[in-house]
Symmetry: C2
Subunit: 396 residues, 2 copies
Amino acid sequence: MRRMTARPANAHQARLLRLLRDGGPNSRAQLGDQVDLSRSKLAVEVDRLLETGLVVADGLAASRGGRRSHNIRLAPELRFLGVDIGATSIDVAVTNAELEVLGHLNQPMDVREGPVAVFEQVLAMAAKLRASGLAEGFDGAGIGVPGPVRFPEGVPVAPPIMPGWDGFPVREALSQDLGCPVMVDNDVNLMAMGEQHAGVARSVGDFLCVKIGTGIGCGIVVGGEVYRGTTGSAGDIGHIQVEPDGRACACGNKGCLEAHFSGAALARDAEDAAREGRSPELAARLEAAGRLTAADVAAAAAAGDAAALDLIREGGNRVGQVIAGLVSFFNPGLVVIGGGVTGLGHNLLASVRTQVYRQSLPLATGNLPIVLGELGPTAGVIGAARLISDHLFSPA
Amino acid sequence: MRRMTARPANAHQARLLRLLRDGGPNSRAQLGDQVDLSRSKLAVEVDRLLETGLVVADGLAASRGGRRSHNIRLAPELRFLGVDIGATSIDVAVTNAELEVLGHLNQPMDVREGPVAVFEQVLAMAAKLRASGLAEGFDGAGIGVPGPVRFPEGVPVAPPIMPGWDGFPVREALSQDLGCPVMVDNDVNLMAMGEQHAGVARSVGDFLCVKIGTGIGCGIVVGGEVYRGTTGSAGDIGHIQVEPDGRACACGNKGCLEAHFSGAALARDAEDAAREGRSPELAARLEAAGRLTAADVAAAAAAGDAAALDLIREGGNRVGQVIAGLVSFFNPGLVVIGGGVTGLGHNLLASVRTQVYRQSLPLATGNLPIVLGELGPTAGVIGAARLISDHLFSPA
DNA sequence: CGTCTTTGTCCTGGGTGTGGAGAAAGTTGG
DNA sequence: CCAACTTTCTCCACACCCAGGACAAAGACG
């Protein structure tokens, strides 16, 4: 099959493509209501898009009281690939042009095995999705990596937890392998874009998306656009100090947030609690599995284990303390919490909220929802698809 | 004299006006080099601007190797008023259209005396400037207040240190009194805009501007634009907690940054040190003046007083701790420190830098200048003038 | 003083968008 | 089943805008 070759020729066409992506199939008349173009101009631009094959006619729309309008939709055979490289696992998904997930694979893998091994795995997963008939090829791919990225070039820079990736030309390499345009970003930014597109952050202009997984990061959205900072490391809140002379962190400092609370820190604390006999629930689980994860703590807490609840509460306080500061500084309209620890759910949320509402000023917290992400592991891959579609659906 | 009535009719004209504002008088040919318009189109737009009187011809430019070009400049009789209401003083200045300060007045006054008294004072100062022949009237005014502002309406919202100002229609009232367009913003944002326009932050897209005066606030600039947050309280970092169970703060919480270090806190600490006999220098000054200010601490430190130096160092550490967190989060390209305490100078700067460079990751700090603002008290008024000129020099 | 470069002005031709007229396609109510 | 009204779509004429060429003006340079 021939893949997408055309690109929108002007801002109007780009606008139309995004409307169709975000709003699904739409009648010409409805499009006209949204874009402030004369009827003639709109007809011309739509016709041109039809010619390029980016959009197709899709039957007749329901009548609005007069002649029925023709429906327009994005070409149904367009396919985007969304890749989310986590610290310990890989998610790969195929979406259509409306960014609906058609197929999703997850595979445990340690990012420290290096870019070559990880790429091999990603390509195998992409091939598997293709083989299952979901796609005959990809029109674009977005990929998220767990570390800072020089965004324009799509290259990781000085990533702390990804030895071997520094300077690796992710964008270039993946583009070669897949034969389609590729964009690279930080995984946290993609999660934010995912929640913005299809999750809790729809229609919020300025928000924060805190991802607590193996590490801790924060996606920052300003006026609907991801903010990446001067060197691409914005949102790197895992190494904010929460305790003077606190625990030693892998980064060389002491008292970093990540050292005190994160997927990794929580697992270690849980194992300590189990070994020291403070928690029968956790001890039993440690006995059974040989090691503990955030999910075990969540389960123990659900079973009423006091030590597990304490761990969650204390972690929530720590994160809440940092978020409170960020809320004062950034004054967001929403705070989304996601990542591996969302399993800790409302216990975690409650202590975060307590901390934030207590420490920040009423003007900033007055109407500030603090919620869990609603997309879970698909947030990242949807965000990745959104990233590349934003790129492709922009004027050439 | 007739004041500015016209506004740029389109984006091109707005662009030209801003170029003339930021770059001073310019030849038509030089303008052409900067705007990517055809010669004919440029000529038309410039002619229209000349017709409106917003710009005037200004002699011949130096030759660039051929026929000499005609110079163009903003109308020399245009005047903006910049007002900066601080917690304890008022600054008012007149600028020309290029935002050069032509006259500047400063008057001590407590903002808590309320909007009516303050406005009376501001109008008196404006009248004085006008009477001195610097202006026959004002084409626009910008005003900064020490608290959060609902920006579109120009109304303070829930300002902690400005009782009586909540909901007062600052924009509307001042516009009535002066008979010209007015824009209102937080004083910290204006300082950021001032340093961006004429100070250390020229040509930096993303930066932070920390103002340490009676309180502490932070201007946030993203992509050259001031970021104000969802409710206008972004940058309100004075109430970030720096010490669990620390000093009681006026806001009702404990351990706020402002309670531990700010102009007010520093003065109190200095008086304590003087009374407790820890500092002969400060004691002498307290004896002489009856009370102490940040300036006294600066002077004592310059004289080598150990207690004063300690106060500055400790304060710098506190602020540095918070800034380190913000740097990790925001990844700015520059941090500017200004406000009343800039007199503490390099002692303060040194301890802030130490803290930031130690606590934040190298990728964020690698090329991060942390500097003092270079405009001092004029930053605010220049920023105010810039605010209104940005508004007026935008398409109607 | 002649030639070259730069700048400013005029003009024309092409492209583009607006909005009206009218046809096509449906709905609604009698 | 028909008439009147709505909505949608297409076609077209007109106005507008703008790019770029031609040319004149003004100065630099040798």
